[in-house]
Symmetry: C2
Subunit: 681 residues, 2 copies
């Protein structure tokens, strides 16, 4: 096979890929669970948070819960409507980051980027803390070890992703549909029983709630409004994950945007229905639910507190317990399906984080190697950083969803708001040049929707900041600020380097002569190969260089050298303190100084071994030497490798590594649906 063939084969690879990609794109029935699990899973904790906040004023305000839920549902539907415009206008998968960057400039883009980073961390922390809570409803042991279980889940997911887990559509579809079926079934059956008058009260119905300090007696209007606003802020946790679909448009089947928009609408309707049903059932079943830190505010009818031993199950668990009081498998099905979807939701973050990282890296805001496919180190570091931050949060906040939620919603709404504002500018800009009246009408309608979305999300952001700043949002802002700072600094560094590297006219001058030196440590195969290769490049001068640290060895080598009769002179550098690197560096720079317009080519024979411990035993000097020579101007360093038999092991390992699935592959259309393997070219 000639060189031409090869490049053709490589060129052809591309066409093949485009063709293949069409087949692997996700149909709606698979795309829905893949991208919706994050948003759906928030139904598992958002209603609880509404009840916890309202419970501060005792049971009196519980009736407001349905209104709060309706407000959240309204925001949800408006946001969904807005994002349907986004996926039509920006089908490339850049999501909020791209929209903000293009329309509002890089500063807004970086802000959205850092908000998303913070969010990914919180998705993991919140979802897995919540999953641990659900596990606690089913298994008593977990109740006493929630932090341990949540951290264990993070570690498990991180290990799975480090190893390269196949994220396939099916693995999402089964649990997501199971969750919807189980939860939907519970709500339906509950309503049926309610209509029939056979719906029992929840296990906590008989309990009383003592209002928290400062909330006793009749509240002032301001305090009342503030409390309801807080409940609304916490309930907005239900909106997290809605933007996922807008990042996943490229993975949809054609017509991509239309399919994505349909899926988005479906997601909105299902999520809203489930949330409203859960809140309604909790109301009619008289669930009592307080902050797990304030269990002493929960008292029995006789006035005694329930005490520390009371396990407060989540809303859904309590409802399932009541609805399925005559059918225990139903309870377990609901609890298990909810737990599984929460774990899936946080796996979403493990897959989304590298994709976001690669987009930010492409624009120079993060280290460039993050942008390269298959950089194992970059991906591994990303996963470990994500896991590390999530674990810190879980431990610092005792795996308590209520506390973590305080940090959560800020980031989501920062990116919602900026993205909607960007969309408004997008339509305004396009309207300037668009003349077709029908098209103008469509655009104006879209702008109206995005405008409403902006107004709504901005308002929610203000409410969230006002009600949660002290209880945690400040931490989120601080984290976002640091990420922005780091990203801006990285960008500036890359720009400065590019400036320093920009080519000018004098860079065309050719070196006048090449002085080649071949490093000799022993006269073995690698050295002979390096000599042969160096000779083949026909340099103006060629010599072997040997660093002598021992008289006897030197004499032996010189003898061998003469015997071999290589036709190349051997220069011996004496090194009394057994230093090897320094004499060579000095010799090379001296040659260069003697001939400043020439170039020194240093040939280093290297032998390549395969096992990690073998690598520790070899080539350390070559490595150090190469490191030092990089700083020596006018020197180029050539490694001439000689592959030992054991190097086969390393090559095979590398190849296995390349074939491996990486987190985010599915989201980027890189996984073949049928086989679950990465697409081969």
């Amino acid at each position: 096979m000639g060189v031409g063939d090869v490049s053709k084969r490589i060129l052809l690879g591309r066409k093949l890929r485009s063709a293949q990609l069409g087949e692997t794109l996700l149909p709606k029935r698979i795309a829905f669970p893949v991208f919706a699990s994050d948003a759906l899973s928030s139904v598992a904790y958002a209603p609880d948070e509404i009840f916890i906040i309202l419970a501060l004023a005792g049971v009196a305000l519980y009736s407001a819960s349905i209104w709060v839920a309706l407000a959240v549902a309204a925001v949800m539907l408006i946001v969904v409507a807005s994002y349907r415009q986004n996926v039509h206008a920006y089908p490339s998968g850049g999501g909020d980051y791209e929209i903000a960057t293009v329309n509002l400039g890089p500063k807004a883009g970086v802000t959205v980027g850092s908000a998303l980073i913070v969010d990914y961390v919180l998705v993991v922390a919140v979802s897995l803390s919540s999953a641990a809570q659900y596990a606690a409803s089913a298994v008593d042991y977990v109740a006493d070890h929630r932090v341990l279980v949540a951290v264990g889940l993070v570690v498990l997911l991180a290990l799975m992703n480090l190893r390269g887990v196949r994220e396939s559509g099916t693995s999402f579809a089964v649990p997501a549909y199971a969750f919807m079926t189980a939860l939907g079934g519970m709500c339906l059956w509950g309503l049926v029983r309610y209509a029939g008058g056979t719906l029992p009260d929840a296990q906590s119905a008989e309990l009383e709630i003592i209002p928290a300090a400062n909330y006793e007696g009749t509240l002032t209007t301001i305090a009342l409004v503030f409390l309801v606003a807080r409940a609304f802020s916490s309930g907005c946790a239900a909106l997290t994950g809605v933007e996922a679909i807008s990042n996943g448009v490229p993975a949809f089947r054609r017509p991509k945007s239309t399919n994505a928009a349909t899926t988005l609408m479906l997601l909105g309707l299902i999520a809203v229905t489930l949330m409203l049903s859960v809140v309604s059932l909790a109301n009619v079943m008289n669930v009592k639910y307080v902050d797990p830190h304030d269990l002493d505010r929960l008292v029995r009818p006789d006035g005694t507190p329930v005490g520390e031993d009371y396990h407060q199950d989540t809303l859904i668990a309590q409802i399932a317990h009541g609805v399925f009081d005559n059918f225990p498998p139903g309870f377990y099905l609901v609890v298990i399906a909810t737990g599984v979807i929460l774990v899936l939701a946080s796996n979403t973050a493990f897959n989304g984080f590298p994709v976001l990282g690669s987009i930010l890296a492409r624009d120079g805001f993060l280290p460039r190697q993050l942008a390269v496919r298959g950089d194992r180190l970059a991906y591994s570091n990303g996963i470990m950083i994500l896991a590390g931050m999530a674990i810190s949060l879980i431990v610092a906040f005792d795996a308590e969803v209520t506390k973590l939620i305080q940090l959560y919603i800020v980031g989501v709404f920062v990116s919602f708001t900026l993205s909607q504002l960007g969309m408004v500018k997008h339509w305004t800009r396009h309207l300037r040049s668009e003349r077709d009246p029908a098209e103008r009408l469509r655009m104006q309608r879209s702008r109206l929707i995005n405008g409403a979305g902006f107004a709504m999300t901005a308002a929610v952001l203000v409410v969230v900041l006002a009600t949660k700043f002290i209880s945690g949002a400040w931490l989120t802002l601080l984290a976002m600020g640091s990420f922005i700072g780091i990203m801006v600094a990285i960008k500036r560094h890359y720009e400065n380097v590019a400036l320093e590297l920009a080519a000018d006219e004098q860079d065309k001058v050719l070196p006048t002569r090449v002085h080649a030196i071949v490093l000799v440590s022993k006269l073995h195969k690698p050295t002979l190969r390096a000599l042969a290769f160096a000779k083949a490049t026909r340099p103006n001068a060629l010599e072997g260089v040997y660093v002598s640290v021992d008289e006897k060895e030197t004499a032996r080598l010189l003898e061998e050298w003469d015997e071999r009769n290589t036709g190349v002179p051997l220069k011996v550098l004496h090194s009394p303190y057994r230093e090897v690197v320094k004499p060579i560096v000095e010799y090379a720079s001296a040659i260069r100084r003697a001939n400043p317009r020439g170039v020194v080519a240093v040939y280093i024979p290297e032998y390549v071994v395969g096992r990690w411990w073998e690598q520790l035993l070899h080539n350390q000097t070559a490595l150090r030497l190469k490191g030092r020579l990089l700083f020596t101007p006018g020197v180029m360093v050539t490694s001439v490798p000689f592959q030992l038999r054991s190097s086969q092991i390393a090559r095979e390992r590398e190849e296995r590594e390349e074939r491996r699935v990486h987190p985010g592959d599915l989201r980027s259309g890189r996984v073949d649906e049928d086989t679950g393997r990465r697409i081969r070219r």
Copy 2:
């Protein structure tokens, strides 16, 4: 300056060094404290151990302590006499390892090597645990936190050595002479007061010792002998460090061997005198001393135990307390001087460990980079391994000298015994060829001394193993066994590689043609330089290679390329998944396959930055590419560096690093006594 001048300058460097070295060699008055601190410091704990063991049978056996001490002193003097033969016969500084290897073969050598490694770890652990004990006599706080203090001292010494502390003769001389003066003064003054009848009893004189379980009543003869033998084994801790001088012969002034032998004798006499004086004083002052774990065996005259709050001071501290009861500064001087010399003794291990490592590495038993001067990584790893192992021991054994001593003496006597056996064989071999009667007589006398040394140390080794196997020596043997296993495996690996690398006739074939490819990522200075360098080597074929991951960028680059008119064709490889490494590796191997007798030269433009975080942001792809190309046969990889301004920082850092002092420098004559700096060439 021409190339010839340079090599001359480098050659001249060597002569200069030899001349300088003469001046920096150590006179006896400096060499003594440098090499003797380890041996002298054992006086601080060896007598205590004798008393602890004898105390098992109550105070009844205390009278045997002086006999045990005399036996230890006898062994000490015989060992010293033997080593005086060693330094004459092997003045190269290889010490026991060299003697065992040359005379008994590499297996014995490796055994001695691993024994010495174990010993260095134990020197650190025992000395610093003992130092913490002394600090406890002076400062109450330390008494409750001995483990912490001992670990803290290890960390401190490790950090100092990692940073590169100047080990100068003076830094040893002052504390060593202070220790000898203080301790000698104490003994002398104590004897004077004893003669005058004014020597008070020790603070613990009034206490009674209850014999330990199994030691009550009249002991059988066998039990008695075993107990005394155990006390003797523990007392032999006094011999540790004697071999240090035989490793340091090259650092002595001429006549090296004679000076070293004289110093050795001096050391033996002083150590024996101090030890015997301490034991005698402890006897006449009625010191009562038990295992710190058995404090409940120490009772007041009224029969009540002293209780957990009783701080049992070391023998020397108790004696100093009594002798200087009318002169408190004397007490503090003794305690502080003892503490300091113990710290110095363990610093000796930090300096000796790298030197031992480099000798073992030179013979292929340890990774080769340990043999290279100034390999910061190798030295740092050595220091951290030593510190880590010492800390584990201290924590595992609660910083209790008595427990650590159980592990200690095995290693020392293994190397004593093998080295003396080696010396016997050495003389026997030389006697075979020697004809001069006077010389023969001298040799026979030496052989007799070494033979006595061998018999004595072998007997002690048997006693030590018999009395301490269960209480800890098994652990030492296990550790030694593992080190031997590792070293043998490393040696075997190096030998196999050497076999695989051995040159044969076919290695002379020259490649028929050189196909050069220059990697192009952007058209900036580094790329242009790489192109110019590659052109200068006049390859048979030359092309630029660009991996296209983005249509627009590719078009822009192609345009620029045409504008620049470099005269080099540009090959574009398409990479749909943004992989960079794989297409290049595949292209290079394809070229090679098309022309199996040719060689592919891959030129990688690299820019060199200086700060660690800059390095994270750059060249990761180049690094990974180079790693992969090493496994591709017939390819040589050339880095063409372009130094950015910030690279200056890294160069300066490297230079600072090279000038730095490394542990073990003094021992190898590498430090200038006057300035304390490393000798510059």
